[in-house]
């Protein structure tokens, strides 16, 4: 590239870009990146083998089914002026309970499942409604219970409304 020549043209730019590409041919991610990726592979493989594989798959399906039920219930809540669809809400909660999801499900949520934590909250349903998340209040006490799976970066990976206060304890 003619650095001191203001009469550059597009051909010079393309030549300079080709030169830059050649100069950067040797650049690559350092070995620790590969090590991290392959550790994740090993963890994923370990989570998907062994005698618990069938039960893990069933648990994953249960999580997926409960999620769909929760989404369906939320849709009904949002669309309806009738405030209670308690049976659907209860079904969604009972489907997986408040237990920790399977290893397989956790790997699906985050490549580093060991970093995940579950956070349980009880919040005023009016607060959620004010934030644009209208939910029903099956217990009639003005609060709803929420479970969140949170990653090490502080971001929620999964959120669900649980059915009753008893699951919080």
């Amino acid at each position: 590239m003619k650095q001191d020549d203001v009469n550059l043209n597009e051909r010079d730019v393309r030549d300079a870009l080709r030169a830059l590409a050649r100069a950067e041919e040797h650049l690559a991610a350092r070995p620790h990146v590969e090590a991290a990726v392959m550790r994740a592979w090993d963890a994923s493989a370990a989570a998907s083998i062994g005698p618990r594989r069938g039960s893990q798959a069933r648990a994953l399906w249960a999580v997926a089914a409960s999620f769909l039920l929760a989404v369906g219930a939320s849709y009904v809540w949002v669309r309806s002026d009738v405030p209670v669809v308690a049976t659907q809400s209860t079904d969604a909660g009972v489907a997986v309970g408040s237990s920790w999801p399977s290893d397989e499900a956790l790997v699906w949520l985050d490549p580093d499942p060991a970093s995940l934590q579950i956070v349980r909250l009880r919040v005023a349903s009016a607060t959620l409604s004010a934030q644009g998340y209208p939910v029903s209040d099956p217990d009639g006490d003005g609060t709803v219970d929420i479970e969140m799976i949170v990653g090490a970066d502080g971001l929620a990976r999964s959120v669900r409304v649980t059915a009753s206060a008893t699951q919080m304890n």
């Binding site: 590239m1 003619k2 650095q3 001191d4 020549d5 203001v6 550059l8 043209n9 597009e10 010079d12 730019v13 393309r14 300079a16 870009l17 080709r18 030169a19 830059l20 590409a21 100069a23 950067e24 040797h26 650049l27 690559a28 991610a29 350092r30 990146v33 590969e34 991290a36 990726v37 392959m38 994740a40 592979w41 090993d42 994923s44 493989a45 790997v107 699906w108 490549p111």
Partner: protein, 196 residues
């Protein structure tokens, strides 16, 4: 080159889907460098680019079964993932880090030549990183990664005509910026201060 290394990407994916660790490691070794260089050019940071590489291959690992060879080469697919992750990270960081890490001096023995090359490279990188991302990404893909128009269009999810027009416009913008810098370099320091 042994038979394993000569395997196509599709064969390696099939084997990785069956749980073969070596197959996935070969895919990583084959594609990580281009993905890294693309991410580095897009984010302006070596460390951020390594994060992108890691996330790209974790995404590939998770969605291995979703890759459809009929929709393009694996490298194109990976660039598409890298593009989305790089944009997300750039938004998260809320700033593009400076491309001033002179880590490509390696392999040049003459210090004077190394300095000159580094200065030119630095100017070009700075001008490139200052372009709007929609122009920068087509230049990076077509001119630095040497993808053809159709492959670039697949990565970006736009028509080929859009790639052509953005590439032309991007090169023109890059040219203008380089001219401005070259012009400034030819001015005296006092005049430069006035211009600045």
């Amino acid at each position: 080159m042994d038979a394993t290394q000569a395997s196509s990407d599709e064969e390696l994916i099939e084997r990785a889907l069956r749980g073969e660790r070596e197959a996935f490691a070969l895919l990583y070794g084959r594609h990580q460098a281009p993905v890294y260089r693309f991410a580095r050019a897009m984010t302006g940071s070596s460390s951020l680019a390594e994060d992108v590489v890691q996330d790209v291959f974790l995404t590939l690992m998770r969605d291995l079964g979703r890759y459809d060879v009929a929709r393009g080469a694996l490298r194109t697919y990976l660039f598409g993932i890298a593009r989305n992750i790089a944009r997300h990270k750039a938004r998260t960081v809320r700033r593009l880090l400076s491309l001033t890490e002179i880590d490509d001096w390696a392999g040049i023995d003459d210090p004077a030549e190394a300095f000159a090359v580094a200065q030119e490279t630095l100017q070009l990188r700075r001008c490139l990183s200052a372009l709007p991302s929609r122009y920068r990404e087509v230049i990076v893909l077509c001119d630095l990664q040497e993808l053809d128009y159709a492959e670039t269009a697949t990565v970006l999810g736009v028509p080929v005509g859009t790639v052509r027009s953005r590439l032309h416009r991007g090169r023109q913008m890059l040219l203008e910026r380089l001219r401005q810098r070259a012009g400034l370099r030819s001015l005296t320091p006092a005049a430069k201060r006035c211009v600045i």
